[in-house]
Subunit: 238 residues, 4 copies
Amino acid sequence: MKVTVWNENQHEKSLPKVTELYPGGIHEYIAGFLKADDVEVRTATLDDPECGLTDEVLADTDVLVWWGHMAHDKVPDEVVERVFKYVMSGMGFVALHSAHHSKIFRKLMGTTGNLKWRDGARERIWCIKPNHPIAEGVPETFALEEEEMYGEPFDIADPQEVIFIGWFNGGEVFRSGCTWVKGHGRVFYFQPGHETNPSFRNENVQKIIKNGVKWACPVRKNIVLDCPHVAPLENIEE
Amino acid sequence: MKVTVWNENQHEKSLPKVTELYPGGIHEYIAGFLKADDVEVRTATLDDPECGLTDEVLADTDVLVWWGHMAHDKVPDEVVERVFKYVMSGMGFVALHSAHHSKIFRKLMGTTGNLKWRDGARERIWCIKPNHPIAEGVPETFALEEEEMYGEPFDIADPQEVIFIGWFNGGEVFRSGCTWVKGHGRVFYFQPGHETNPSFRNENVQKIIKNGVKWACPVRKNIVLDCPHVAPLENIEE
Amino acid sequence: MKVTVWNENQHEKSLPKVTELYPGGIHEYIAGFLKADDVEVRTATLDDPECGLTDEVLADTDVLVWWGHMAHDKVPDEVVERVFKYVMSGMGFVALHSAHHSKIFRKLMGTTGNLKWRDGARERIWCIKPNHPIAEGVPETFALEEEEMYGEPFDIADPQEVIFIGWFNGGEVFRSGCTWVKGHGRVFYFQPGHETNPSFRNENVQKIIKNGVKWACPVRKNIVLDCPHVAPLENIEE
Amino acid sequence: MKVTVWNENQHEKSLPKVTELYPGGIHEYIAGFLKADDVEVRTATLDDPECGLTDEVLADTDVLVWWGHMAHDKVPDEVVERVFKYVMSGMGFVALHSAHHSKIFRKLMGTTGNLKWRDGARERIWCIKPNHPIAEGVPETFALEEEEMYGEPFDIADPQEVIFIGWFNGGEVFRSGCTWVKGHGRVFYFQPGHETNPSFRNENVQKIIKNGVKWACPVRKNIVLDCPHVAPLENIEE
């Protein structure tokens, strides 16, 4: 399996806390825990030419992981269209945390991606589908002492499955882990991962992202997208 | 629209608090707020012959509302089969609170209906689908100072829509308002309504139940259930 | 209820058969059968300034019906964004036939809208959810002697409900009637309606479109779209 | 992975054609093509004590495959309850063809399982989700020259995913391959497989059943089913 981890890599330049938590940036940290004998991982960022997401890279990517927050609008539309095309063609897509407002996630959802938010909450995550492949090895519930609150209503397409629901100490709830199939691509959204919180260091968060990447891996890739005129297959007497 | 409100009516005999809150029993109280110029409501209880759910009554019912808790097993299997048949044929079904473990709800779900529970919680309900007919006039969020906690994982069939999610002060979450289509019948489950809590007196709870009953009302009723051998409709040359 | 019927109105200028079937154009014909005592209908076309879809018109529209085919690309992106915003805010949207490839439908789906196609087929439509409000009064099956074949795989977001499946005499099948909720808006797609076939004159097709418009009508409209920073609602001791 | 193939094994006694097609019976034939280095397969039939489905067997089964037709009622209710319990606890379940009317499938669906039927049709199967694991290696469409027609409306719970739709030469359509999650168990229904037709000898049908079994294999098994009273997890100041 070949994974590309994309990070806008902007907070890393101004907030020391981010690189303290995640040396090398969020992308390198995530790449680090995703790497395995059968998982090859590359990274790409906003500062790379074409955001590092050329046709060559995407055609060779099984699953694209996306983290972005303050610079969604800096991602050129043609890069968004290209990523969209590859998801339609079968590439898996895992959107993390503030990627809910990225151009590509909103385009895949066909919705605004809006939600409620507040820094500095305590979150408790519940696994409501313990037998889903993305929940493998994950406990029924676990807490994140410090996470950004994301609250409902969350404006997303109806998920195929809601696997995790988040509880926040300010009284909010959130569909924290959801799946969709869009075109030929499998899409997973997972909510924790604010840049100044240690969520990506949490063992359960890491398991869920690893499982999500594995789940999103296509059984076919680079499927031709067309809208063909076709001849009849059956000889029907009219 | 013709509605039948069924209540096992057992707690009413032993817990004075129930009839203080709901004079005449939970069934009479719910019937009271459902009645309207275009809504005819009758009630039925466990103590009635055949639980008050004869073929005559069910054939004349658009939507059946169900409350039960301590006496699920006392409902005879033939009554359960009969109610099931009418739901399959188009009758709407609204299951309230502890009806999650009733024979008929479990039969409709094809699951155990299991959940976590604890008396004496504070609940906050979030409406995550504000434009759903069942959410008409309901605020984005409202609190119930005293309700029984029902917590995930809730073992139900995947809902068609989750309209309400509950937050509890002990750290739990719950899919508190869900819809399904089963056979030809529309089914709505709503979680609040513990017998010793005043939830059915809450204005928003009443609105939701009224909306749910209206939503579950069939466009066709008493649809024939069969598995017919049929002739071809098209003349296909083989 | 206020309905706006949008038609690109281009085939009407070059193919006499279209205006023979649908005098005044497809939009006027559809508007004609939608009009009722409690349904006010206006029309709009590609040739109108801003496609006839100004903020003033959309803010005053409960449900927008869309027919387009040869000129999808002529609809300006800002009009598409505007319509999208109103669907997100609660406006219903009914997409007919070749609208599957319109910019707005593809944007709402988050997919390509691709399918297979061929002119001149015989279609048989099956109602698989006879108790859905959109199926009210519609028979279990009916035939269209002449329709364009649209075949699977149809690249759409997973529907909330598939209400109609089409059978074609060349061996194809199609999810011909599907619903979604996108943002706060309810969306219905219905497949028949090729410009040179008399499908919109068919009594069942008319019933389905009328029912679809009624189903898509919002219970709330012009809902504010935002992503607010919010204060806690509950006083949680940490 | 450990698979148990259950077959009522009754037609095999009276219709020579069945054992000509499937020597040893349908169960042995299916077991034959499911066996692999990492897949251990046992069989069980109606004539075995307790239908061959004891606690010992089920506790040691990852996925149960079910074929039944003329003797659904002969399966004792306690066996049905036991199989149900194991599906709720995580065991996968693959229902083939006429299993649509088996007690256990109807119990899992919470519906009647009704459909239309006719012997001796030509079927064409369309794969509408080519990137689903159950569709791995399966072509977009393939024909079965001889199969029993099963037609919509098919009274099932709303599927999580419809992967295959069938076209029949008499004008019918059918949701031929569907998935659900019920309790902790993953359920797949696949329509071809009439006892006197050679469908189980078809390479694509075999691929789909193999893929379906693999998909239904649980990530956890024998999960405890309970409805526990629980203490609060969070210290909430009221």
